[in-house]
């Protein structure tokens, strides 16, 4: 209902004369909720003409406002505000003395109470920094297995990408640019106020990952979280928002609040089921004019077919019948364009979750169980996740409350694809097989004895079917996240709270490269067993009060101790003594290496929030951290932050269209300790030796630093938000300037120093950016509504300093070192570098007369930004009666990507760019190093070996603009009519058609998806023949009983 005021004209207010001097007039009244006429407690009531004249409603919703003399005889406007309700203004005539106001609930306002650092709920008005919140339901219809991938495109300034590593893969989320030159740049994930571990067991896979360990993405910590348990997700983008997290807030914080039980009659039951299918979404645009072979010749013998299994430098494709492929059979010499479709299958994901909840005044509970079963597009690659979560909160007395959250996750993966380099990478065959071979001819990839079938010239390029059928990789992660807290109200406005959490997992990874492989014929074993725990204990005291009815003060103080432990064993071995028997006990050579990590951080922190009449807010925070990983002389640091916000619309009169306008600003300094322990002192480790002679060397190839001190990250943020047209349009803008100083950098150094890196406190990195959010409801009627939301962000990163005398270093490279991801002073973080062809001033290519190849420049040529600086998302929701349509389009711009797939497709003759010269040889023209004219014709016979095969030397040829616009998500929902459901005992039910990554609306890469990333480490911008990206579509059913 609409807000309205019932005005009672009071005709007989006769006060004694003496009283009239001080209390000239009293207005009494009551504030109630429009919905159910329940009293609104604590609503602010003041007069617009002078906001200092005000009061608040009592427990019954009643108020009494005393007007001073100068207002007593005038008509005034009364303003009533309360959290969760729309602001209401009403005119009060000079002769009025009593009024009843009913306030309209504001759903948007309700949402604007957001969870902030340490789980503290705040009115969005009071925030001095930008905070974005996503409802849990946004993750449960069109699902990503890894909820972090669901952030893509949704929040300005959050650059989120899922990896192309199959179900159970990791995500990479970076907020407001990479914050550390070599360290972690991903945010801290916090569940219900306490941090969890987001590491990838055994470390992130590498962009040039070779083999079963370095090439496998084992999944990160956030991937285990069941989206159905998420009530809301709040993104604190860093700086002041995350300052209370101190060292760990430097990269921003993602707060996850899990669902709790609700007081109700009986048991609430919710069931959610999603079934989706997925298919490869991008197919390379290869040439199909010339087929398998080399030197213009088609293979007609098995040896030729095997040698050229990956080469498409053969004869013109003409249907010849004497063509022989690597399966030793004759086939018609015809183009085979469907190898990706034929090698990969339709993947499926079936997720079922059920939640029971309920409770009464004293105790609330919610229990959820979920199962996710996924089959990847890669045959034999599966992922299963079971989660159980129990949340109990109890009000033990009027003052004492307790809450416990227990989560148990079990993740099991099978044959996660190896990406990066060729060995054991099942994707290389599907992408590289010669263009007249139907990849299925190479199935099952092994002979009757289990030995890999030779299909190409390089044994290191594993037969994909041999991977599918014979490689055995399994992993199991048993994870337990427990939280318990007790809070006690010492006074009405002073609450003490103690919380302890432990995120613990036990991880077991075994990867078997089987006996009989071409490259490692006796097989290889990789294993990881680890116990990882993150334990936090925190105590806080929170106090709030109000001075002179106008100034609110909240104070929070606390202490936290965090301990991270990893007890890991890496198992490695070669050569199964008894062939095909895959036990660690059966290895000819084996090593078990202990890897231990133990880190402790102690902290004390405090914050103070001042609130002047809900118009002006000031927040101060401070935190002191002590780090075990730093030099004892410099192991602690204090982080301050200050923030303020002003409801400008409450101070000056705004045009009618402006509901409110807020300005905000904040400054914060956060920072951190060394990410890794044991970086202070030189140490020596024993090396496994079987000769009876013990061996020892320095423990680390990284030079330790006895003076290691904390790094800092300073952020200045200014912002503005406004709501217009009665909430139909809102706009939020933020600009920030973030600078990391004394970054603890593992600086790669010349190996000739005896070490490969040095741990230095030297890095400086700047990220500056702008974020915009525009939300609106262009159409809103009883039956039809249209909501739209657009976000845009730009982040400019610049490396300011690496280390004294060091101007550039590499943080990763592609397989074979054809491209490098470097940090270079004056350039953006993580640029793509490599070689160009040498050219003279006129642009002519300079040829080496010895090799008849273009000369290479040095390898420090900047070829593109590995990280997209521009990100945007556009979400539209249409609702018509019981139907709704939700569409998310997102895009990234300005980044580049280097393609290893194209390097090989060029060397192997699959690219259309390798067509020149097929008939009459390739005429090269240019100049020599002396400047003389140069020309040479590469004969057809040597076209591959003398020319195209060597083009991997010129990185620039394979770097592309990675910009894209994608139709990321479509959800079409139908909510079943309530009347029909009631008879079935169902409260609500909806059915949705869902789709993810459905279309690429714009891209500049012809042959692959520009998001084809394979590692969640710092080195982005390399495609290296990982699992192809997919589009998924399916059905979602949601029932509430």
């Amino acid at each position: 209902g609409n807000s309205h005021a019932n005005v009672n004209k009071n005709t007989a207010t006769h006060l004694p004369k003496s009283a009239r001097l001080s209390i000239v007039k009293e207005i009494g009244g009551k504030v109630i909720a429009a919905k159910d006429a329940s009293p609104v407690i604590g609503a602010a009531v003041f007069i617009k003409e002078n906001p200092r004249v005000g009061t608040t409603t009592d427990a019954e919703g009643n108020f009494k406002l005393n007007l001073p003399e100068n207002f007593a005889t005038k008509n005034i406007t009364l303003v009533i505000t309360s959290v969760g309700f729309e602001k209401f203004e009403v005119a009060v005539a000079a002769d009025q003395s009593s009024i009843t106001v009913s306030l309209k609930e504001n759903v948007q306002q309700l949402n604007e109470v957001v969870v902030t650092a340490l789980g503290v709920k705040k009115d969005k008005r009071a925030l001095a920094y930008s905070v974005s919140e996503i409802n849990g339901s946004d993750f449960t219809q069109a699902r990503e297995n890894n909820v972090a991938n669901g952030l893509t495109g949704k929040i300005a300034g959050v650059n989120a990408t899922g990896l192309s590593t199959g179900p159970g893969g990791s995500s990479r989320v970076v907020i407001r640019g990479n914050g550390s030159l070599t360290g972690n740049s991903q945010p801290l994930y916090v569940i219900n106020g306490m941090p969890i571990d987001n590491s990838v067991p055994g470390g992130s896979s590498l962009p040039n990952g070779l083999g079963t360990k370095a090439g496998t993405d084992r999944g990160d910590g956030i991937s285990a979280i069941n989206p159905d348990d998420i009530e809301s997700m709040t993104v604190l983008k860093g700086g002041a928002a995350a300052a209370l997290y101190g060292s760990r807030g430097a990269n921003g914080v993602i707060l996850i609040t899990t669902k709790k039980g609700k007081a109700q009659k009986g048991i609430g039951l919710e069931y959610n089921s999603t079934f989706t299918m997925e298919n490869v979404s991008v197919f390379p645009d290869f040439q199909y004019e010339y087929g398998q072979g080399d030197g213009g010749v088609m293979p007609t013998t098995l040896a030729q077919a095997q040698a050229t299994g990956r080469r498409s430098f053969g004869a013109k494709i003409d249907g010849s019948t004497n063509y022989m492929a690597a399966d030793g059979k004759n086939h018609p010499y015809l183009a085979q364009k469907d190898n990706l479709k034929n090698f990969y299958q339709t993947g499926t994901t079936f997720t079922n979750s059920v939640a029971l909840s309920g409770g009464n005044d004293a105790i609330l509970y919610r229990l959820s169980l979920a199962d996710l079963s996924a089959k990847s597009v890669l045959p034999s690659n599966t992922y299963n996740r079971k989660t159980a979560s129990l949340n109990i909160s109890a009000k033990l007395s009027e003052r004492l409350r307790a809450e416990a959250v227990v989560q148990y996750n079990l993740e099991q993966g099978n044959n996660r694809p190896i990406a990066g380099d060729a060995l054991g990478n099942p994707n290389w065959m599907a992408y590289e097989v010669a263009n007249t071979v139907d990849v299925r001819w190479l199935n099952p990839g092994h002979d009757a004895n289990g030995n890999e079938i030779f299909w190409n010239d390089a044994g290191i390029v594993t037969n994909g079917y041999f991977f599918v059928n014979k490689f055995k990789q399994t992993d199991t992660k048993d994870r337990f996240i427990g939280q318990a807290s007790v809070s006690y109200d010492l006074l009405k406005n002073l609450t003490l709270k103690a919380t302890t959490t432990r995120d613990f997992y036990n991880y077991n990874f075994t990867s078997i490269m089987p006996t009989g492989g071409q490259y490692i014929p006796q097989g290889q074993y990789d294993g990881i067993k680890s116990d990882v725990s993150e334990t936090n204990s925190m105590i806080t005291a929170a106090y709030n009060t109000k001075f002179a009815e106008t100034i609110g003060l909240s104070v929070l103080g606390g202490a936290n101790t965090r301990q991270f432990k990893n007890n890991q064993f890496d198992f490695y071995g070669q050569g199964y003594t008894i062939p095909y028997f895959y036990s660690y006990s059966n290895l000819a050579t084996s090593t078990a290496t202990p890897v231990t990590s133990n880190i402790k951080t102690n902290s004390v922190f405090g914050s103070a929030d001042l609130d002047y009449k809900g118009i002006w807010f000031l927040t101060l925070t401070g935190r002191q951290d002590w780090f075990s990983t730093l030099s004892p002389k410099n192991n602690n640091v204090f982080y301050p932050s200050i923030g303020t916000s002003l409801m400008l619309s409450d101070v000056i009169n705004m045009p009618r269209v402006i509901d409110n306008l807020k300005l905000r600003g904040s400054w914060a300094q956060v920072g951190g300790g060394g990410p890794d322990p044991y970086a202070i002192n030189l140490a020596y480790s024993n090396v496994p030796s079987a000769s009876g002679v013990p061996l020892q060397n320095v423990s680390s190839a990284s030079i330790t630093n006895a003076g290691l001190k904390p790094f800092t990250s300073t952020t200045l943020e200014l912002g503005l938000s406004t709501r217009l047209f009665g909430g139909r349009l809102s706009f939020d803008a933020a600009v920030y300037d973030k600078k990391s100083s004394n970054d603890i950098v593992s600086v790669p150094i010349s190996g000739a120093s005896g070490y490969t890196s040095a741990i230095l406190n030297s890095g400086e990195l700047s990220n500056k950016g702008i974020e915009l959010l525009l939300e609106g409801t262009p159409i809103k009627s009883a039956d039809f509504s249209w909501n739209t939301s657009f976000n845009f962000a730009y982040n400019k990163s610049e490396v300011l300093k690496l280390a004294d005398g060091i101007n550039t270093f590499s943080i990763g490279n592609s397989a074979n070192g054809n491209a490098f991801i470097n940090n270079q002073v004056g350039m953006p973080f993580g640029g793509i570098y490599g070689y160009r062809m040498k050219r003279d001033a006129a642009g002519n290519i300079i040829y080496d007369t010895n090799s008849n190849l273009p000369l290479q420049t040095d390898n420090n040529q900047y070829l593109g930004n590995g990280v997209s600086p521009y990100t945007m998302g556009l979400n539209n929701t249409f609702k018509y009666k019981n139907f709704s349509l939700d569409m998310l389009v997102d895009g990234k711009f300005g980044g580049s990507i280097f393609s290893v797939m194209e390097v090989y497709a060029t060397r192997l003759g699959l690219m259309k760019s390798t067509l020149p010269g097929r008939e009459n040889g390739l005429a090269l023209k240019g100049v020599t190093a002396n400047g003389d004219a140069y020309s040479y014709t590469v004969p057809v016979a040597n076209l591959r070996s003398a020319y195209y095969n060597n083009l991997n030397r010129y990185t620039e040829l394979f770097v592309h603009d990675a910009s894209f616009v994608k139709l990321r998500q479509v959800i079409i929902s139908y909510r079943l009519p309530a009347g029909f459901l009631k008879s079935l005992g169902v409260q609500s039910a909806s059915v949705s058609l869902v789709g993810r990554n459905l279309l690429i609306l714009y891209k500049k890469t012809d042959n692959f998806d520009p998001e084809q990333g394979l590692t969640n480490g710092a080195a982005q911008g390399i495609e290296s023949i990982g699992l192809p990206r997919t589009r998924s579509y399916g059905l979602n059913l949601n029932l509430k009983f």
Binding site: A303, T589, T596, S689, S691, V698, S753, G754, S851
Partner: protein, 499 residues
């Protein structure tokens, strides 16, 4: 930790931040052993590069065949030895020297470590020319992260000085040695002295092209000091067959692992075989070593029948030849034997170098003929060490080979030098790097380069390895200085002593 006790907020940090899997005080002898293993393994003999270049082996495959084909796409593979050596043996031997150099009771440990450091650096500079030397391995001690490159002439001067100083310092009067941690001589000081003088002979002789006077002076000094002449004095690393790869003969293990694990003559992982040039030469010379080092698989078993040995041409363009199985490959029981010792300096090498010294008139106590003949006999005898059985090569065949290959003392010095270094080619096998060094210095054996499409050198045998590309980025100034001084960083630029 609580708010009231700030001082106690870090009281257990020292313990927490101590790696439970490491010690803070090194055991020097253990590091010395590691330096020996790493120094012996990380040389130009790692991988098939120099084996191909010196035309011992090849592959039909471009990647593995790089050494024999100079394939342009693979040139950066030459940076690997540099990359691997410094953080391993150079760092380790530096740690050893740091720990012992100021302790007068450890005089023999210090001298031994210095000799090994010279061995390691000599292997590096011979491949690359100018390299980081004075500044090298000082990342931790002196925070030198971008070490300067020393000129090769300065490195040679210092290495020779180091050898002289160490040989002089070694004393039997002090009984503190590395003992069993010394995998070469088990602490035998007298033998280390011979090794030092032998290295002096090797490095001194290296200077013949660039500074003959200096060469003569060092060679004379080395001979006076006493070089390895006896089978018992051969400097060799000992290995075991089981356990960790580091304990295995690095040349044998690498060859085996790259190609010959299946031992069936056909499923060679990287398509490797002996090269035609090498096998043809052994056959033409009726060299009894042919059957000691080579086999052909016939009906699934290895045959050393000399008449069927056949090397593979290096010109095969990518396709596995249909007669692949009929080509010779390294023998599992000798060249591929992972518990065979690795010969670092042999009596054969001394004799051949002395034969050249005699030819040059720098040594007159023995004749070139005798030295050359002793060299051949020693090089055949050493297969006993490699195979682990005595009499691997029959005495009668040694005698007849020697008789058939007498030094042509009536010929020119060049002719005789060629004879000596043709013998070095076979006699030092599988130390391809030392053969390569002598090839560059003397021009022998007179190998005919393979001209292969897409080669990086215009069909020339290359003269050095490329610096690792990371040096262009991480050590740019020093790298540029070295390139300025030495010449372009390409495969055909000659190192100082090869000018």
């Amino acid at each position: 930790c609580s708010m009231t006790l700030f001082t106690a907020c870090d009281k257990d940090f020292a313990e927490i931040n101590t790696n439970p899997n490491a010690v803070s005080v090194p055991t020097t002898a253990y590091i010395f052993s590691k330096a020996l293993y790493d120094g012996a393994a990380n040389s130009g003999n790692k991988g098939s590069l120099l084996f191909g270049l010196m035309q011992y082996t090849t592959s039909y495959n471009d990647v593995e065949g790089f050494g024999s084909k100079y394939t342009a796409s693979q040139v950066n593979a030459t940076g690997g030895v540099f990359t691997n050596s410094y953080p391993n043996q150079i760092n380790e031997i530096g740690e050893v020297i740091k720990a012992v150099k100021d302790d007068p009771t450890k005089v023999n440990l210090y001298a031994t470590a210095r000799i090994w450091r010279v061995y390691c650096f000599s292997r590096l500079t011979d491949l690359y020319g100018d390299i980081p030397y004075t500044d090298a391995g000082q990342g931790y001690n002196l925070s030198i992260f971008q070490p300067k490159y020393d000129s090769q002439s300065a490195i040679y001067a210092d290495m020779l000085k180091e050898l002289e100083a160490s040989a002089t310092a070694l004393t039997t009067a002090n009984t503190t040695t590395f003992g069993n941690s010394d995998l070469i001589y088990q602490g035998n000081v007298t033998q280390w002295k011979k090794f030092a003088y032998s290295l002096m002979l090797r490095l001194g002789m290296r200077l013949t092209k660039v500074d003959a006077a200096a060469a003569q002076s060092w060679v004379t000094k080395a001979i006076a000091g006493g070089v390895i002449r006896e089978y018992a004095d051969i400097a060799k690393m000992t290995y075991t067959s089981g356990g960790q790869n580091i304990n295995k003969n690095p040349i044998a293990w690498q060859l085996l692992n790259d190609n010959y694990l299946r031992a069936d003559g056909t499923n060679n992982t990287e398509g490797g075989k002996y090269q035609q040039v090498f096998i043809n030469s052994l056959k033409a010379n009726s060299d009894p070593r042919l059957s000691a080092l080579s086999v052909v698989y016939v009906n699934g078993s290895a045959s050393s029948d000399e008449s069927i040995q056949k090397g593979m041409p290096a010109t095969i363009n990518g396709t596995k030849p249909s007669d692949f199985i009929t080509y010779s490959e390294p023998k599992q029981t000798t060249v591929l034997k992972v518990d065979a010792p690795l010969l670092l300096f042999t009596a054969a090498e001394s004799n051949f170098l002395l034969a050249e010294a005699a030819l040059r008139g720098w040594y007159s106590a023995e004749t070139a003929t005798n030295l050359y003949e002793t060299g051949i006999r020693a090089s055949m005898k050493q297969w006993d060490l490699i195979s682990g059985t005595t009499g691997t090569i029959a005495q009668a065949r040694i005698d007849s080979y020697v008789a058939a290959h007498a030094l042509k003392t009536t010929g020119t010095v060049a002719t005789q030098t060629e004879q000596i270094y043709n013998e070095v080619w076979v006699g030092l096998f599988p130390d391809a790097q030392e053969v390569y060094n002598n090839y560059r210095r003397t021009g022998y054996p007179a190998l005919t380069p393979n001209v292969y499409p897409g080669n990086a050198t215009g069909g020339k045998i290359f003269r050095r390895f490329l610096y690792p590309v990371s040096e262009q980025t991480l050590n740019r100034t020093s790298y540029n200085e070295a390139v300025q001084r030495q010449g372009v960083d390409d495969l055909l630029t000659r190192v100082w002593w090869d000018k």
